[in-house]
Structures are given as structure tokens and as C-alpha cells.
């Protein structure tokens, strides 16, 4: 079975933020939540590079490990999803995540956190696939429709890729060979374990 992953090519990302906009529109993300964001280092000076980042759907996901009510789970395709009905808004996943993916709308009085919200790899949640309830809580279930996440589909420079990890690695290998540079799978070590280890499968 395919292992779903994200990959962003720093040589190609132009900081247009179309991925972030596509995500917000497709999933009707609540105000104040950014499931995907673009971060630029060395902004305005030589060496400027941008990367689009969201939940990386880690293999040994820290959020799953720390959730006190076990509301976060991983599908057989490696997509990390969560159950908003069970979430208690404690914020542990936010402490543990290296990519800043889990976010909390402040809906209640006294600044109490609401239900956690994060990127679903456009794969919805535990509700019935493509149901109204699923869309309201988690957004579109594009995987169930046979489509890939819209952020990557929308990317005009194909910097952001989503899909089977083996296919993505092949694409990146081809690009790197054409550039004569090195493989740029650096973000993967944090999310999926170092190459060659059991976690990296």
C-alpha cells in the first residue's frame, strides 16, 4: 500500500501561498487556523528560500504518542487523522509536534482551547467518507474521491508534492540529478526517521 507523504522542493517554492489559500478554501478551515503555511528564511537577502509546511503525517507521530485521550490515529496509508468528538483541547499535541501543525480555535470563555484542528492530507476524519458531518469537522475527503491533497495539486511550480512516498522520492531524485545537486529530502528525517531505518519505510 502507498505510504502518503508531503515533500516541498526549496529550489522551486516561490512563496506564492497558493497552497495555503487552496487549503483554506477546499476545507473551509475555521478563522485563525492555518493548516498549511509558507515560511521564508533569509527573507530579502541572497540565499532566500521558502518552504510550505503542514502536518507531515509522521511515522512515529509525537502527537499520537502524547494525546491523553488517544483521539489521534494513523490510517494504513500513513495519514494522521483525529477525532474531534473525543479531543479535549489539552494542547499536548501542540507541544510535541515539530512542525507546528496542531492548532486550537479559541472558541469558549476564559481563553479555553477548542477542538484541535490540523491538516488531514485531505482525508477527512473518522466519520463516513464524504459525509456532511465529516466535511463540517475536518474538510474535504479528497483521498476518498480518488484525488490528492489540493495544496499540492494547486502548486504552480510543483514545488509541493503529495502522494506515495516512493513516487515522490523518484521525482525528487530525477530533479536533483538534473540539477547536479544533492537530494533534498532533509525534512523527511524528522518526520519519517533516518534513511535505511525501520521508521523510514
Amino acid at each position: 500500500m502507498a505510504r502518503m507523504r508531503f515533500l516541498c522542493d526549496a529550489e522551486r517554492c516561490i512563496d506564492c501561498n497558493a497552497c495555503a489559500v487552496a487549503c483554506k478554501n477546499e476545507n473551509e478551515v475555521p478563522w485563525g487556523i492555518n493548516r498549511r503555511r509558507v515560511v521564508t528564511l533569509n527573507e530579502g537577502v541572497p540565499g532566500e528560500k521558502s518552504i510550505s509546511v503542514a502536518c507531515m503525517h509522521c511515522t512515529d507521530a509525537p502527537c499520537i504518542a502524547v494525546c491523553p485521550v488517544s483521539c489521534i490515529y494513523q490510517t494504513p496509508e500513513g495519514v494522521v487523522l483525529h477525532n474531534k468528538d473525543v479531543c479535549i483541547g489539552c494542547g499536548y499535541c501542540f507541544y510535541a509536534c515539530p512542525f507546528g501543525a496542531p492548532q486550537f480555535p479559541q472558541t469558549s470563555a476564559f481563553g479555553v482551547r477548542g477542538k484541535m484542528d490540523k491538516c488531514t492530507f485531505c482525508a477527512g476524519g473518522p466519520e463516513k467518507d464524504m459525509s456532511e458531518a465529516e466535511f463540517k469537522k475536518y474538510g474535504r475527503n479528497r483521498l476518498a474521491e480518488g484525488k490528492l491533497p489540493l495544496c499540492a495539486e494547486m502548486c504552480s511550480t510543483k514545488a509541493l508534492l503529495a502522494g506515495d512516498g516512493d513516487v515522490l522520492a523518484d521525482i525528487m531524485r530525477t530533479r536533483a540529478a538534473a540539477r547536479g545537486g544533492s537530494m533534498e529530502l532533509n525534512g523527511w528525517a524528522t518526520a519519517y526517521g533516518a534513511a535505511g531505518t525501520k521508521e523510514s519505510r
Binding site: 515560511v39 507546528g100 532533509n186
Partner: protein, 311 residues
């Protein structure tokens, strides 16, 4: 400040800023090896803060591994040693009680009462106590829940319990904090260390007979993470320690020492009790160096609690 001085200041600031703007590693690499952005990725992995449109906490950081240590502590030694501690202390107290029994008075009760705690002091104590027990129970549910409670209650039911627990925990905490600070202020003077306290401790209370943007080593993102994680670990260590010690406090205040519970319920202790358990205070009291606690009721019209001796 005059206008010219302001301009001078601005020029100085600009000069300093230009001196900092050295070429970064990524820019240098683009010259020597175009297409190899290893320096950029090293920056990303080191948690350097960048520019982003997202307004969320720490959104400018691409990869922040600061939570990893927190995760390892939170999911490893804390639930393990915490459970041993919380089960071990009551077990040790039970063993102690079975072997030695409660502490009784050596002399006969005098029948004369001295007032040890005023009504407001007792009210404060029980406010702290009730909040503490609520916090401990809800905290236990949240921290140990997925190991013990969830298996007992099954998955969706436990989530509802946890939701109630998290709300109770959050709303009890401010009341507890205020009550605890008040209790501290009320008792701090009487808790200043005296020479005889060392002696008490030595004899175990008588039980034994004896780059750019400029950042330092850690950047802002790492620091925020660090303090969040530290705050949680301090909170957790403090809570585990506090709950364990509370078992001892509750034991000695109820089963462990005859006459102790009465001090906090009615506010009075027998003179013999005071003489045996707080001899220095008793001497101060007799010599008139300190006064007895006020016997004014908290609510002026309330009738005093009638205590029935059972043992």
C-alpha cells in the same frame, strides 16, 4: 531629544544593522554549489525563525524539535515513577500504621482546651484541601487516564470523563492558587525556620528517635518551547510530589495522630496535646509570648461545632 540627535541615533542604528548583515551560509553555498541548499535545510532543522503570513504561535519556525524531550519525559519516566510514587507512599503509610499505630498522648488529657486555629484559618485550609483533592483527582484522570482509566471506562466514555476533568481542573486551579497564596501569607510567619527545627528533622519528627535575525544559542522559538515544556514538567513534578506528600499530611492529620483532626475541624487542642506535640509553642503560649487563636466564628450567627470524643 532634539531632531538632530534623533537623526544621529537613526544613522547609528542603520550602521550597526549593516554591520550585522553578513552574507549567510545559504547565499555563500549558492555561489560555490548552485542548487545545493543544505545550509537552508540546516537552518530549518535548527529551528531558525523565518517570515510567514500565518499568525499562530511559533508559525515562523519550520522544524522545532524542542518538544521531543518533553515527549520523552512525559511519556516515559513521569508516568512510570509517578505511578510508583503515588502507589508507594500510601503503601508505606499503611505499613507504618499497621506496625506502630497512631500516635497517642503519653500523659492524660487535661480537659482544658487551647485554641490553635481560628475559624478563618480553618476555612482557608479546607478551601485549599477541597481544591487540592479536586485537582489531584482530575489531574490523575488526565495524566494517568490513558493507562488506567481508559481501559476501565472504554474509549468514548473516557473522553467525556476527561472533558469534565479538564474543565474542573482549569476552573479549580485559579481558586486553588488564590487560596494557596492566602494560606501561605497567613502561615508564613509561623513557618520561619528556627534552630529547633533542625533537631526535629534530624530525629525525623521523633519517628526514628533520630546568525540573523540576531539570536543567541537558542532562538525565540526554541525558548518559547523550552519554557512551555519546562512549565509543564515543573507543574507535573510539583503535582506528583505534592500529591505524595499530601498522603502523609492527610494520614498524620486523621488516622496517624489522635487529636490532630480536631485542631483543624474545631480549632482547639487539649493542653496535653499541645505540650507533647508543639512544646515550644505551648511554652510561648503559657508565657504569654503568643496569644491563642481567635474564637470568633466565621459567620457571626453560626453555632459552634460540637465535638464528640470517640476514643
Amino acid at each position: 531629544m532634539t531632531a538632530s540627535a534623533r537623526w544621529l541615533f537613526l544613522l547609528l542604528a542603520l550602521f550597526c544593522a549593516s554591520a550585522w548583515a553578513e552574507p549567510n551560509a545559504e547565499a555563500a553555498r549558492e555561489q560555490s554549489q548552485p542548487g545545493n541548499n543544505q545550509p537552508f535545510w540546516l537552518d530549518a532543522q535548527a529551528g531558525r525563525v523565518g517570515i510567514t503570513n500565518a499568525q499562530n504561535i511559533d508559525a515562523g519556525v519550520l522544524i522545532n524539535t524542542g518538544g521531543e524531550l518533553w515527549r520523552r519525559l512525559h511519556e516515559g519516566p513521569f508516568p512510570f515513577w509517578g505511578a510508583i510514587w503515588l502507589a508507594g507512599v500510601p503503601a508505606a503509610i499503611l505499613a507504618f500504621w499497621l506496625v506502630f499505630g497512631p500516635i497517642r498522648l503519653h500523659g492524660a488529657e487535661s480537659g482544658r482546651m487551647v485554641r490553635r486555629f481560628a475559624a478563618w484559618e480553618r476555612a482557608l485550609h479546607w478551601t485549599v484541601a477541597i481544591c487540592f483533592i479536586l485537582l489531584a483527582l482530575t489531574g490523575f484522570t488526565l495524566f494517568f487516564g490513558k493507562y488506567y482509566v481508559e481501559a476501565l471506562l472504554t474509549y468514548p466514555v473516557y473522553s467525556w470523563v476527561a472533558k469534565v476533568a479538564v474543565s474542573l481542573h482549569n476552573f479549580t486551579a485559579p481558586v486553588f492558587t488564590v487560596a494557596m497564596v492566602s494560606l501561605f501569607l497567613a502561615f508564613v510567619k509561623r513557618n520561619l525556620w528556627r534552630a529547633y527545627d533542625w533537631q526535629w528533622l534530624r530525629r525525623f519528627g521523633g519517628f526514628l528517635g533520630g546568525g540573523e535575525p540576531p539570536s543567541g544559542f537558542f532562538n525565540a522559538g526554541e525558548k518559547i518551547w523550552f519554557w512551555l515544556a519546562v512549565a509543564d514538567i515543573v507543574h507535573l513534578s510539583g503535582a506528583l510530589l505534592f500529591v505524595g506528600m499530601a498522603f502523609g499530611h492527610i494520614y498524620i492529620g486523621t488516622l496517624g495522630m489522635r487529636g490532630a483532626y480536631r485542631a483543624m475541624r474545631e480549632g482547639v487542642v487539649d493542653e496535653t496535646w499541645a505540650k507533647e506535640h508543639h512544646s515550644s509553642w505551648y511554652q510561648d503560649l503559657k508565657a504569654g509570648r503568643v496569644g491563642e487563636a481567635s474564637d470568633a466564628p466565621l459567620i457571626p450567627s453560626a453555632r459552634p461545632v460540637v465535638w464528640r470524643q470517640t476514643d
